[in-house]
């Protein structure tokens, strides 16, 4: 490295205050310098809840992907999943920061990610699913990214300019994630009899979690022009899934949606049992050492 190439990093190690060398320490607000106001006529409490839910989807899904690190069969897939997890983490940071702005109580992204309890998380249950094998990983990523891309495509025109900007940016990333997942579903489905059967079984496990993605959302209903109606996304997502499953020689699974608990599911803060373990891992260091820098 030339001196100039090194300078960007070297300057960080010379700082004595919160500017440390390592990535991941003392991060500034991802929305720093962006107009934080909530547009006139927009329900700020609903916008808070909406951004929180979309941020939680990305945060929880990203963590599940991070748990795959060091376990991939090939280095190429390891970097792919690390990159996808990083994109989702970036989306989560911005959405949680936006939720904090709209809430107006001074909570920042870290407060929301690390100091909320399970029932306060609003992510869909698809996001917290533990992939038992690579086929489930690929199938779940296909469904999640196809759904989130359809959603972000609409939110890019949101009346909240910050949400619109986050969505427009994220959509570019999600299109790449979706294509990556689709390639693997096709490769496995249209592969050997064994890989075909494993992919079919994986979709059977994932499918009960998809119904929740398209259910009516009372928060979205309070945000006309800002949020998207989940029911509107189904046709676009179905078209993508049908195309991929067709190429993969797989049938669309039949099966009842995962049961709700007293009518409630992820968007209501009701999660499956593995969620608590995920959250413990995600939050334990931050809770053991609040406000620590290292």
């Amino acid at each position: 490295m030339t001196e100039d190439e090194f300078a960007a990093y070297q300057s960080l190690s010379e700082e004595t205050e919160d500017h440390r060398w390592a990535f991941g320490t003392g991060f500034t607000d991802p929305l720093e310098g962006i107009d934080a106001s909530v547009p006139d006529g927009v329900d700020a409490a609903a916008l808070t809840a909406y951004c929180l839910a979309l941020g939680d989807d990305a945060l929880i899904y990203s963590h599940r992907l991070q748990q795959w690190m060091t376990r991939m069969p090939e280095l190429e897939e390891e970097t792919a999943l690390a990159n996808i997890a990083l994109d989702l983490l970036g989306q989560a940071r911005m959405l949680l920061a936006r939720a904090g702005q709209a809430e107006g109580r001074g909570r920042r992204e870290d407060d929301l990610a690390f100091f909320r309890d399970e029932h306060e998380f609003r992510s869909v249950r698809l996001a917290e699913h533990t992939d038992a094998d690579f086929a489930q990983l690929a199938g779940r990523l296909l469904v999640f990214s196809a759904w989130r891309l359809a959603l972000f495509g609409r939110l890019a025109a949101s009346a909240d300019p910050v949400l619109a900007a986050i969505a427009a940016k994220g959509a570019n990333e999600l299109a790449y994630h979706r294509d990556y997942a689709a390639q693997w579903v096709i490769r496995l489905g249209d592969g050997t009899p064994l890989s075909h059967d494993k992919m079919a079984a994986a979709l059977g496990v994932i499918w009960p979690l998809t119904d929740e993605l398209f259910r009516a959302d009372p928060v979205a209903a309070r945000l006309p022009g800002v949020a998207a109606d989940p029911a509107e996304l189904r046709a676009e997502v179905d078209a993508v899934l049908d195309a991929v499953l067709g190429a993969a020689t797989l049938d669309r699974p039949q099966g009842a949606p995962l049961a709700r608990v007293a009518g409630k599911a992820g968007r209501d803060g009701v999660h499956t049992e593995p969620f608590g373990y995920l959250l413990a891992e995600l939050q334990s260091v931050a809770r053991a050492h609040p406000d620590a820098t290292w």
């Binding site: 960007a8 990083l86 910050v162 490769r187 195309a243």
Partner: protein, 184 residues
């Protein structure tokens, strides 16, 4: 008061800041630097992230402040602009030359986006035959030329690379691996 000459000097300083991950190009070459302006006594520098999770943005902001301070600009705001979303189309011709010279294939034109994003799928096969363990290949709309020998006979070996903005390729002519900045 920042004079016109001062503003031009500040622009030059800001434009020369190298990207931490691709130090052969500057933030201006990559299109990350969006604006340098004044607000009263303050200098306002606007940057945009390439990808949502790009950790380099903070280092860039810090480097901007440090270099501008060294050039006598003490009151500097570095702001983030999210819209419009960064596109690899913003990489300048000069930036593309520098990337290529460093062995990184620059991106093609980004796909135009309006309405639902179409799936990009390819069927397998070709000269390589079936390699069960190989990663799936995402469709390339145009061949990516090897930055080393110029051959168009190249294969994508991984859809993602060491940073969010790159994919990995191999040249079938000179057999060298290389990185390619993804078109987004």
């Amino acid at each position: 008061m920042v004079t016109a000459a001062g503003l031009a000097a500040a622009r030059a300083v800001a434009a020369a800041v190298p990207d931490p991950e691709l130090p052969m190009v500057t933030v201006a070459d990559l299109g990350i630097l969006r604006d340098v302006a004044t607000e009263g006594e303050r200098l306002v520098v606007t940057i945009t992230p390439t990808y949502s999770g790009c950790p380099a943005l903070r280092e860039i902001a810090h480097d901007l402040r440090r270099r501008l301070a060294a050039s006598g600009f003490d009151e500097v705001d570095v702001r983030t602009a999210l819209a419009p979303a960064w596109s690899s189309d913003w990489i300048t011709a000069d930036g593309r030359r520098k990337l290529s010279a460093a062995g990184i294939a620059p991106p093609h034109a980004a796909p135009a986006r309006s309405g639902p994003v179409p799936l990009t799928l390819t069927t397998r096969g070709g000269s390589g035959g079936i390699r069960v363990s190989s990663p799936p290949e995402l469709a390339e709309r145009e061949p990516v030329a090897c930055p080393r020998c110029g051959s168009a006979d190249t294969t994508r070996t991984a859809a993602f690379g060491a940073t969010a903005c790159k994919a990995l390729f191999r040249c079938e002519s000179c057999r060298e691996p290389f990185e390619h900045v993804k078109a987004i």
